[in-house]
């Protein structure tokens, strides 16, 4: 049974597929989220030093993972779009970017809220938080560039070059910020996750991360459908699709 994957590479055939898959991923996200929250709140013990405040890590750490993972996914689709010159890959890259930016912002928000009870300040120049902030700027740069270019094809290609240059720089930024943090502050102030990682805590985070992943796929599929409709509005299959809805 050789499924011709390229059948789905054209926006027209991918559109219904995305529509069918999105609800499944959304429900998977809800399910995993519920399990994760249960693990996080009702199974994981209270942390010795940070009391209950540490429970924020159940969304802070997965959100940080997702923001970096989605940037790599975005760069992957951008690279595929640049090499294979397929329109759909470019659309997928622009579909993933806003969700990645959202998770990056969530990671920053929860990170600062977690820093307040433990270190008394809303913003801690911790290595991971700082590189998360720069990652958010990279996302904004990508989205601003795509918004500034009218011609969708050029927007995809230009965004692709920026995403590829960005993805090469993310590790460099991460390590230079890491080095910068140790130089100026020493390793005392850092949002390491709770030192004694009880098994249930770790399980809670993994499940929440999977839930976030399902959510990101669902959001990307929903957004790519909108992008396909916007870009293919002149195509006759779109007119036909609109007619069937009426």
């Amino acid at each position: 049974m050789n499924v011709n994957w390229f059948k789905y590479s054209s926006p027209q055939t991918f559109f219904p597929l995305a529509g069918a898959l999105a609800p499944w991923f959304l429900s998977a996200a809800l399910l995993l989220g519920a399990v994760g929250l249960y693990l996080g709140f009702f199974v994981a013990p209270t942390d010795a030093q940070q009391g209950e405040a540490y429970r924020i890590i159940f969304i802070h750490v997965p959100a940080a993972w997702m923001s970096m993972f989605l940037y790599v996914v975005m760069a992957f689709w951008a690279g595929v779009g640049l090499v294979l010159n397929t329109r759909l890959s470019g659309m997928m890259a622009s579909a993933v970017a806003p969700t990645g930016a959202l998770f990056s912002f969530i990671a920053l928000w929860t990170g600062s809220l977690r820093g307040k009870p433990t270190w008394g300040t809303w913003w801690v120049w911790d290595a991971r938080l700082t590189s998360e902030l720069i990652l958010l700027f990279l996302y904004f740069g990508f989205m601003a560039l795509q918004a500034a270019i009218d011609d969708p094809r050029r927007a995809d290609k230009a965004g692709a070059v920026l995403a590829l240059v960005g993805v090469i720089n993310v590790p460099i930024i991460y390590f230079s910020v890491q080095w910068w943090n140790t130089l100026h502050q020493g390793a005392s102030v850092s949002l390491k996750s709770a030192p004694t990682m009880a098994a249930t805590m770790f399980a809670g985070m993994i499940v929440m991360a999977l839930g976030f992943w399902m959510y990101s796929i669902a959001a990307a599929l929903l957004r790519v459908r909108c992008i396909i409709l916007e870009r293919e509005r002149h195509a006759d299959w779109v007119a036909q699709y609109v007619r069937t809805l009426k």
Binding site: L26, F41, F42, V43, A44, P45, T46, G51, E52, A53, R55, I56, I59, H60, A63, P98, T99, L102, F105, I106, W109, T110, L113, R114, K116, P117, Y215, A218, A219, L222, R223, R225, C226, L229, E230, R233, V238, A239, V242, R243, L245, K246
Partner: protein, 60 residues
């Protein structure tokens, strides 16, 4: 980890503001994103419907 009562659960050991603050914002943003996407799709379809309607009127 059994909470004494629902009251203790929501108090979250005195860190209610921080824990529920971050969970509420996270959940809010994610739900907002999905809702915005659904609205965006509906707007596009309406717009396309109007465009097609206008085109058909011109053609008649």
């Amino acid at each position: 980890m059994s909470w004494g009562s629902w009251g203790d659960f929501f108090a979250m050991g005195g860190y209610a503001l921080y824990v529920w603050g971050s969970y509420a914002v996270t959940l809010g943003l994610m739900v907002a994103e999905v809702v915005l996407l659904v609205l965006r799709k509906r707007n596009i379809l309406e717009h396309l419907g109007r465009m097609r309607g206008a085109a058909r009127r011109v053609a008649l």
